[in-house]
Symmetry: C2
Subunit: 331 residues, 2 copies
């Protein structure tokens, strides 16, 4: 763990100065949580790649659990470097993929007092950013939410919505408290934790099981659980994640496995984010969700045959998919 | 094991009477080996479902390793019951699927002196037929061949071609010797074994690894082996099959795993039969190739996490595929 991360104290803000937020990677997650912060009075700017024109012209429409609402960012940018000055917070909602260098993408907008918030999937995803910005406060966050980007500038919100944030790698954080208060003011539960790495492992229990199985089986959560062999596989995979986490110093017991299974039975049939990515032809976060966990298992010599099998198959599948898409684009 | 299988002695045949063969399930395997027996002078009748009209009108064209050749069956039938009398041998080349009752399909043509030959994939596939025809000689056979049915009545033969046959469950067999001589006369190697069940496990080492991985990864043998994580998965799955076989009384060591890997590296990139079935929208032999082996593992309490994971994913995948195809056909 990085224990040398010594954050610069947050400078006091005048009571009526709105928080300046820059959302980088404004897909469903970035659009939704950016909108929440704007609701609470923050000045939220968004950076887009594919949806730039749609959002510049029409803002972001969210078809929410409690009716629809519309979010018009303070500014809509194509590039991080176009941001004027430095924001109080950079909310990083980029996917965690091998070919994305998060630190270099956000660098132009990271000022001396900017807090970086990684609202991303997976485990052990923070170290690179922590190393490159050793003097900035680094928060790590988890979103518990069912969202999908239906068309450019349109997001559908179907369940949950809360966040957990905390200082990376651990400990208290004033910057986290302030951001959490803003989310809470918009009605989004956002507990602050002093053990965010542990929370990442807890969330991975669900993600490492349902995401890859949903893609390889082309199935919803309901379909996965209604098939006895895959229901058993889900349980085993979750148990393996608990074993890795426990070995790495974040104890998780079978109780969390049962809790995850029960909760999934209760929600509507759900397409995982990885399945939605696959169905839309987008890249999948195979390394952040499976590869990193398997690396930790190797480090602590934990046997994870189910995770390794699922990982091997999904890696092959995504590689073949990329080859076919490349072939198609060359024709 | 069934040790009560007391075969009726084969009645002597006049030297110039051709063997009467009925091929049931005339896909690539049935068409190819039926043609071999006909080459050696046997009177070969074929039963077809989908390719009946094409084969009745034009016979079977085989694009072979040593040039093309043409096989015109003695008779081309739609149903087993249309066969006149009883053949010396029924060569069963049907797929092993849960909804196919092989014994009932062949029953109309099983005479008192008919030898039944199951030329099919998987392990533990013979018991049902053995029980229903306790007084007939039952042979079990394995085909080591790369074939594909390209269009109705056309078969492409790309590598190998030998068979292994033997009495089920074990022991010597005059009927096996006579059939083997006929194959050998046509240039097809056909050793007779007294331990066919053991041979089935040996063949399963390759089949249980490459077939499901090729479908889940949508990949050829070469692509599977060039990806380190799946190359390791192939090795592990093969090792698990060896452990089951050994526990069941058919010792297999790691040497066979290495031999299979080396041989696969040497052949051209190959689409497994299960992948070809998937790509053509045909049913896959998931139970014969994986489900039965896992049942044996449970019986002997052998841990097979990789096989179970692959089996669970493939079962879910095939179930989802069937649902989607049904939905498509209803639209």
């Amino acid at each position: 763990m990085n224990t040398e991360n010594t954050p610069t104290p947050i400078p006091p803000t005048a009571p009526h100065t709105p928080l300046r937020i820059l959302v980088v990677g404004t897909g469903a997650i970035g659009g939704y949580y950016g909108a929440q912060l704007a609701k609470a009075g923050a000045q939220v700017t968004t950076v887009h790649r594919s949806d730039f024109a749609a959002v510049r012209d029409q803002g972001i429409h969210i078809d929410g659990l409690r009716g629809s609402y519309h979010f018009r960012p303070a500014q809509v940018l194509r590039r991080v470097a176009d941001y004027d000055g430095f924001p109080d917070y950079i909310l990083v909602c980029l996917k965690v993929l091998g070919n994305i260098d998060t630190a270099e993408i956000i660098r132009p907008a990271v000022g001396p007092a900017t807090t970086i918030v990684l609202l991303q999937n997976g485990v052990e995803i923070e170290e690179e950013v922590a190393k490159k910005f050793p003097h900035n406060e680094l928060l790590s966050g988890l979103a518990f939410v069912c969202l999908s980007r239906t068309t450019p500038g349109h997001i559908s919100h179907t369940c949950y919505g809360h966040l957990t944030i905390g200082r990376y790698p651990s400990g208290p954080s004033q910057a986290a408290e302030r951001l959490a208060e803003t989310f809470e003011a918009a009605g989004t539960d956002c507990p602050v934790t002093e053990t965010i790495a542990w929370e990442r492992w807890k969330k991975l229990v669900w993600n490492a099981a349902f995401n890859p199985i949903s893609v390889l089986g082309q199935a919803t959560t309901r379909e996965i659980l209604s098939h006895p062999a895959t229901a058993q596989l889900v349980r085993r995979t979750m148990t393996e994640v608990c074993c890795i986490a426990t070995a790495a110093g974040y104890p998780l017991t079978d109780a969390i496995v049962q809790k995850n299974l029960d909760a999934t039975q209760r929600i509507k049939p759900y397409k995982t984010s990885m399945l939605l990515d696959y169905l839309s032809g987008r890249s999948m976060e195979v390394e952040a969700i499976l590869g990193n966990a398997i690396q930790v298992a190797k480090r602590y010599q934990v046997a994870v045959p189910c995770l390794e099998t699922v990982y091997a198959l999904l890696s092959l599948f995504t590689q073949q998919l990329a080859t076919r898409r490349q072939d198609d684009s060359l024709q």
